[in-house]
Symmetry: C2
Subunit: 242 residues, 2 copies
């Protein structure tokens, strides 16, 4: 059977990959991904064929992977974090319908929410909602509705894609919606470059977060009514009596 | 500096641990956890001191870890999946306030939502909410509110702790709440024993899921309006034009 692995490589540094992901990549002839991610793993998998496509060529990238697998080469499509969270595994399974003799196996990884939470302490210890602020593929009205619902039900919220050149005020808009239900003093945080050189974390109030400019390498955490700062960490207690 | 690692060991099989987690456990003198999880890693870390406490003794387990670290032994508290998602890292940071000379480092892992999603295909590819149905530490009214909010805003929903001896009808209750906003035909799924012997996945409609009995080793996935079944996989498309 011809084989494609769809592999989450974790937040960035090699050591945050799972053993299963490493073994899958070692077994491959071809490793395909967005340029930045391929550069993160290249040195650890010498002798492989590496192929990249730039951003916004996701469909082409997937087809390229299936074409390689059709040629009989064991192939991996890599994504940062987990391939199943805002990654390529959905698109790979959709396009895979056109290549019925290629088996697709998804290998999970540490997504930015999980990796960033560990950097911050324990913000996601209880129920949480993960929301992307990118409206490239989702109408903004739907994003707004989800932000309001999550804030009203007191979910901890983790935001992916909080900003870009064209969307410099989206984090502010998101905070304004959340402020309809949560107080200005709510404990929030950002983590940037998770698991990479220059990793940084900061804790803010929701009011401070609202007025912040963040970049696209930043993951944003918005606490719930129980979230606290403990010794510089962001912690959402689960309710144990200590 | 005295040191404790709080380590997510992934869904179960050794290969789903990250390299970072393996290295941390290798560096430890003492590995502490709930009995079932310690048994999962014991054979891979020969020569360590292993300590366990049964379920519902989480506070005692944390104190035991800090006492060992105070003695100068490098110690790891292990959790299945990720320690920061319904795991021990929050409690460890809370109790850590009493042991200011012990440094706590959280090492992320693949939580059941991420691991189970990879087994199913790509159900969590877009915005999702993670909700535990256990009311041991959370009032049921709050769980209800979150289920309704998540369904109303068309989040994909992943349910942890969908059942137990005392809570045999909670999944049914949850489905009934979701049915206020989503159709009976909504694509849902269960995965049990993720990454362990006997791993099983099943795809259901929301109506079928409502009438199902599941056990506590099962993670439940409830799709959104866009989720589809593709060749036996559960896939939530992200909106790319294929």
């Amino acid at each position: 059977m011809k084989k494609i692995y769809v592999v989450g490589i974790g937040p960035g540094e090699y050591e945050q990959m799972t053993i299963r992901a490493v073994k899958a990549l070692e077994s491959c002839d071809v490793i395909i991904g967005y340029t930045v991610y391929v550069d993160l793993v290249r040195e650890h998998f010498a002798g492989k064929e590496f192929l990249t496509t730039p951003m916004k060529q996701e469909v082409e990238r997937c087809r390229m992977a299936f074409e390689k697998a059709e040629e009989g080469k064991t192939t991996a499509m890599i994504c940062s974090g987990d391939a199943g969270v805002y990654g390529m595994s959905g698109l790979m399974l959709e396009i895979g319908q056109e290549y019925p003799d290629v088996e697709v196996e998804c290998i999970p990884g540490v997504t930015a929410a999980i990796g960033g939470a560990a950097v911050l302490g324990a913000p996601l210890i209880h129920d949480f909602a993960l929301i992307s602020l990118s409206d490239l593929l989702t109408p903004w009205e739907k994003i707004e509705k989800r932000l309001l619902a999550a804030a009203a039900a007191d979910f901890v919220i983790c935001l992916y894609n909080p900003s870009s050149k064209k969307r410099h005020d989206y984090l502010q808009k998101a905070c304004d919606l959340i402020l309809q239900y949560q107080p200005e003093t709510l404990v929030c945080a950002t983590v940037s470059q998770i698991g990479r050189d220059g990793e940084e974390k900061h804790i803010y109030t929701l009011k401070e977060l609202r007025d912040l400019q963040v970049d696209m390498f930043t993951t944003v955490f918005i606490g719930n009514s129980q979230t606290r700062e403990i010794n510089g960490c962001m912690v959402t207690p689960r309710g144990y009596r200590v």
